[in-house]
């Protein structure tokens, strides 16, 4: 189980690094937006991962999991709640980012971020 645990963590970290790398090196603003969602996915994965306990089930106390045994039978419910919020926030930000990026590239005639630095110094 340990291998699985660290594989997930490694994947998540890899996604974050790849995402950040994309954000920092891509020139097209839409791709930058995409890179952000990749990194976001990595972070969300890491959030879920942090609530993982080996061999346990979902935190729903129906017939399979009696309430009395909940403590030793279910995974941590909090990270799952957090990741929901985080995903929704990610979606909202991504939607807004896309709208701004599309409109920006249309109005400015370019999607190249290197040409969007009229404001500097």
């Amino acid at each position: 189980m340990n291998v699985f645990y660290w594989t997930v963590a490694g994947t998540a970290s890899g996604l974050i690094i790849v995402g950040l790398w994309g954000v920092l090196t891509r020139k097209n603003i839409l791709r930058i937006g995409l890179a952000f969602t990749i990194a976001d996915t990595g972070v969300n994965l890491l959030l879920v991962w942090s609530g993982y306990l080996p061999g346990r089930t979902t935190p729903i106390l129906n017939g399979d999991v009696p309430a009395a045994e909940a403590v030793s039978a279910v995974v941590d419910p909090l990270p799952q709640a957090l990741v929901l919020t985080s995903i929704v926030i990610g979606v909202a930000v991504a939607a807004l980012f896309v709208v701004v990026a599309v409109l920006a590239s249309r109005r400015l005639g370019t999607a190249d971020i290197r040409r969007m630095k009229e404001l500097k110094w």
Partner: protein
């Protein structure tokens, strides 16, 4: 319940207006205002219940429970007196800005209302993840409203903001994972219990997030771009709502960070303040200046978090950030977003001044009280740190003054008085009065800071008399000028109270009020920007030096050692000595003439007062010789400059600085004779410089010019002005029988007595040069031929003539009876501890030292006799002058050269100018130009960090994060 309403009412309003907006625009705006007002009322009730405005009320707490059970299972919102007051500001800022912003861009009300709830939520948040949610809402709304705003560069700004918030999201969530996994909960307070490497990692992540969000240098790049490019009306709302909320949240976060050494925050902050503000020095775009100022306040937060604790931390952060936010809102409200290139083009300078002075923290504005307390704390920790902070604050004030000094336009009638911008300014004024009333117990106008006695009373007389006598002429400005009377009065009253101050703080407050009222007075001139700016910068520099000294010497104005050095530097700057004359020349020549008279005659004496009283003579002693040399060289150099200058007011400015050089020389001698000479000369200078400048005011008022080349022959039209000017010229040239001779005689005595012969030689040579410009002044303005366009010129107005008469009467009395003053002055000076040398003896009308004696009465009579004899001889000789008109010149058919060449006073001292050709090479303006250029170049190095590429800004954040983690990791095994 009230708490819940205060927080969530705007949100309900947002849901409602989102539905209403496209149906009924006006109703929607009305509802927005109503919800905001209701929320404001609720938060005011809370603030009152918490007793937020009373002592200790900042720490009182009210909890808003949410969910089921208690934290760490559920989430609390905690309202303290501290955050309740900030929440009031949030509501006020939103109310001020909503009309401007949403009135112009329909459909923004729901977002604006949500932003208010979010700001409050963030300020009250006690949960780590909950804060994250609020931060995200705030970022989304900021992006949305930026993109919806009316500004050409909206897309660029919105994208940069979006990218920054994207990075913040990632870093923050990583911190969430680590915090939850290591502490098992998500309360903010849990973070502080962390240890080991997770603590370091979380500190690094959060510090990066905080520095990016509050725009602390070097992570301020996006913030600068934001303030420069964003819709200015949105910036107005943003400053007091979201920006303030993030600052206050960060203020709380910084205290729970599990840093190995919190002191490191202060160093990051101080370094960022100096370097970031250095980068801002060259800034000319007002919006970007506000961005740089924001970054200064962000650095201040880091400094505070690293050094101040407990109740002090709360009150300081509150004072700093609420007033800075409200000031910024007011500044932005004054902008007109439709003017894309310069939104502040039409703004009235005097209305703009109030928020700007608030931002720079000049007393008595609220930020000042916070600033001085912060500096006091810093001084105890590390004077070097304090010095860095003061330097950074000074840099900030430089570009802020530039912003104002280039826009000192008239009051705008077009705008209504109930305009949001005016209301913002009014609120600031009210806040100023309120905080000043609270801080007032620290001030005192009775005490023994300055030894009561004759010398103090003499300065009192100078300040009060000078103000009263300069004032009549100030009510009407000269050609193209506005009346500086009000500001002269303010400055004068503060100046008059100066000798009565009971402690250092009072002294400093009065000093700054006097200086900045004078700056405003100067700005009333015909072409003010240049002189006003430099005056403000030098006054600011002098003020900061004084402040540093004050803080270092625990409430006295100064103490021996470094503080004394700082005070001496401040005094030298104020008197334009040692190259600082740059401001005198620029300010005097562009200021209204009566204001120049006040500055040169009366206000400059404050610096002498400071030197004479701030420290014991023993403290000055180590600086003595240097001071004396600075004074001597200034006296000589400025006299030379005055001789070569051909602008009436500039000549007087150079002359004024030159004469004050003698005073510095005398003080530098630290002997009874030297100080007697210095104070005596100070009084003389007060008299004759006031006469000269008031005379110039009369001449300029009547002729409309201050150019030597177009003046001349005015003796026939303005005989009284001429007489007064003649008398004062004789006095300051140091020619017997008038009083200037007396002070110089004393000074030479003192120099010889102290064995400083080289100095004496320089001083004497300077006197000779003084004679050159004195003569030229008389000749160019009053003698020679009258220009045809001045045939109809009348005598100067009574308002400047009468004061001249009074000054002249005193001058004459003093000239023939110097013992009237010296009788009391000599014993008073002799009683000052630490002054060496002999004490001059007064017998009857004569003053004697070991080197000789001076009897003003008999010398005067003798000189009068000689002159009388010559005059009688001339009169009976029967020769009469031939009158020649100015146009009565023949050219024998040749083309006449340029008018300046023909004018008899044109390039009057050409031979001297040629002989001294090397002097302009060490011209002070070049030296200062060099300093400014060096600072600019250094600033450019840091400015170049802000390439405008959003990816670079993200990279900065990541580099800072990496460096911090490695650094802290190195600190703890």
């Amino acid at each position: 319940m009230v708490t819940a309403l205060a927080v969530f009412l705007p949100l309900l309003g947002a849901f409602l207006t989102a539905w209403l907006t496209h149906r009924n625009e006006r109703l929607s705006l009305l509802i927005t205002r109503l919800f905001l007002l209701a929320g404001l009322a609720a938060i005011l009730v809370i603030a009152a219940r918490l007793g937020a405005v009373t002592d200790g009320g900042l720490e009182n707490t009210m909890i808003l429970r949410t969910g089921v059970m208690t934290p760490p299972l559920s989430i609390d919102l905690k309202v303290t007196g501290w955050s309740a007051l900030a929440a009031v500001v949030v509501y006020v800022g939103a109310l001020l800005g909503v009309g401007r912003f949403s009135g112009r861009i329909p459909g923004t009300q729901p977002l604006l209302l949500t932003l208010v709830t979010t700001s409050l939520g963030l300020m009250f948040a006690t949960d780590f993840f909950n804060s994250f949610v609020f931060i995200e809402i705030g970022s989304i709304i900021t992006i949305g409203l930026t993109a919806a705003g009316r500004c050409r560069r909206r897309w660029e700004v919105a994208l940069k903001t979006a990218m920054i918030s994207g990075l913040v999201t990632i870093l923050y969530l990583l911190a969430v994972v680590i915090v939850y996994r290591t502490t098992g909960e998500l309360r903010l307070t849990a973070i502080s219990t962390m240890t080991g490497f997770p603590a370091i990692l979380v500190s690094g992540l959060l510090l990066t997030v905080i520095m990016t969000e509050i725009k602390a240098f070097p992570l301020s790049g996006w913030g600068l771009d934001f303030y420069q490019g964003v819709d200015k009306n949105f910036a107005a709302v943003y400053s007091s709502t979201w920006s303030l909320a993030v600052l206050l949240w960060s203020a709380r976060m910084l205290t729970v960070l599990p840093l190995p050494d919190p002191g490191v925050l202060a160093r990051i902050g101080a370094g960022g303040l100096v370097l970031g503000q250095l980068a801002g020095l060259r800034q000319r775009d007002p919006g970007r200046m506000m961005g740089y100022s924001t970054s200064a306040y962000a650095s201040i937060l880091l400094i505070l978090a690293g050094t101040v604790h407990g109740a002090d931390y709360l009150s300081l952060t509150l004072l700093f950030f609420t007033f800075a936010s409200l000031s910024k809102t007011t500044v932005f409200l004054m902008a007109d977003p439709e003017e894309e290139d310069d939104p502040w083009k039409k703004v009235s300078g005097y209305v703009l001044l109030l928020p700007l002075l608030c931002i720079t923290g000049i007393p008595p504005f609220p930020v000042f009280w916070a600033k001085i307390r912060m500096l006091t704390v810093l001084a105890d920790i590390s004077p070097l740190l304090m010095g860095a902070v003061i330097l950074g604050l000074f840099f900030e004030s430089v570009y802020i003054y530039r912003l104002w000094s280039s826009r000192t336009g008239p009051w705008q009638k077009k705008r209504k008085y109930f305009d949001a911008a005016f209301m913002g300014a009014a609120l600031l004024a009210a806040g100023t009065v309120w905080t000043a009333a609270g801080a007032e117990q620290g001030l005192s106008l009775s005490g023994e800071l300055f030894r009561a006695g004759f010398v103090r009373d003499l300065f009192l007389a100078i300040f009060a008399g000078g103000t009263l006598l300069s004032l009549p002429g100030a009510f009407r400005g000269g050609p193209g000028e506005k009346s500086p009377a009000v500001w002269m009065l303010v400055s004068g009253v503060a100046l008059t109270l100066l000798p009565l101050s009971g402690n250092g703080l009072t002294f400093y407050v009065l000093w700054e009020i006097s200086a900045f009222a004078a700056v405003i007075g100067v700005s009333k001139g015909a072409r003010p920007s240049e002189g006003t700016f430099w005056f403000a910068v030098f006054a600011g520099a002098a003020g900061y030096l004084l402040l540093a000294s004050l803080v270092l010497s625990d409430g006295a104005v100064s103490s021996p050692g470094i503080p004394m050095l700082l005070v001496a530097a401040a005094a030298l700057l104020k008197m334009g000595q040692g190259g600082a004359h740059l401001w005198n020349v620029r300010a005097y020549s562009t200021a209204p003439s009566t204001m120049a008279a006040f500055l040169s005659g009366t206000s400059s004496k404050a610096a002498v007062f400071l030197l004479v009283f701030s420290a014991s003579a023993a403290a000055i002693l180590p600086l003595g010789t240097s001071l004396a040399w600075i004074g001597a060289l200034t006296a000589l150099g400025m006299a030379a400059m005055a001789s070569l200058e051909s602008d009436y007011k500039k000549v007087l400015a150079y002359a004024s600085v030159s004469q004050l050089g003698y005073v510095i020389m005398g003080i530098g001698l630290t002997s009874v004779l030297g100080w007697t000479a210095a104070i005596y000369h100070t009084f003389n200078h007060f008299l004759f410089k006031s006469i000269l400048f008031l005379g110039a005011a009369g001449v300029i008022a009547r002729t409309g010019t201050s150019d030597y080349d177009s003046l001349g022959g005015l003796v026939k039209r303005m005989p009284l002005t001429f007489t007064f000017t003649l008398i004062s010229v004789i006095a300051f040239a140091g020619v017997p029988p008038l009083s200037g001779f007396g002070s110089k005689w004393l000074l030479y005595n003192a120099l010889v007595e102290q064995g400083m012969l080289p100095l004496a030689l320089v001083a004497m040579f300077a006197s000779v040069v003084a004679f050159l410009y004195a003569f030229r002044l008389l000749y160019a303005v009053f003698l020679g031929q009258l220009a045809p366009r001045h045939y109809e010129v009348k005598e100067a107005p009574l308002a400047v003539l009468a004061p001249q008469g009074v000054f002249t009467a005193v001058l004459m009395a003093l000239s023939f009876r110097p013992t009237l003053l010296l009788d009391r002055l000599v014993p008073a000076v002799a009683s000052i501890a630490g002054l060496g040398g002999e004490i001059p003896v007064i017998e009857g009308t004569a003053l004697s030292t070991s080197l000789g004696y001076w009897d003003a009465w008999s010398v005067g009579m003798m000189v009068m006799g000689v002159f009388g004899f010559a005059f009688v001889f001339y009169w009976i000789s029967g020769r009469r002058p031939i009158h020649v008109g100015q146009l009565d010149i023949g050219f024998a058919g040749e083309l006449p050269p340029s008018p300046e060449e023909v004018h008899y006073a044109g390039d009057f001292f050409r031979p001297f100018r040629r002989a001294l050709a090397f002097l302009p090479e060490i011209h002070a303006s070049k030296v200062f130009g060099g300093i400014v250029k060096t600072a600019d170049l250094a600033g450019d190095v840091f400015r170049s960090l802000f390439t405008g590429d959003a990816r670079t800004y993200l990279l900065h954040s990541l580099i800072i994060l990496t460096v911090m983690i490695l650094w802290m990791k190195g600190g703890t095994p």
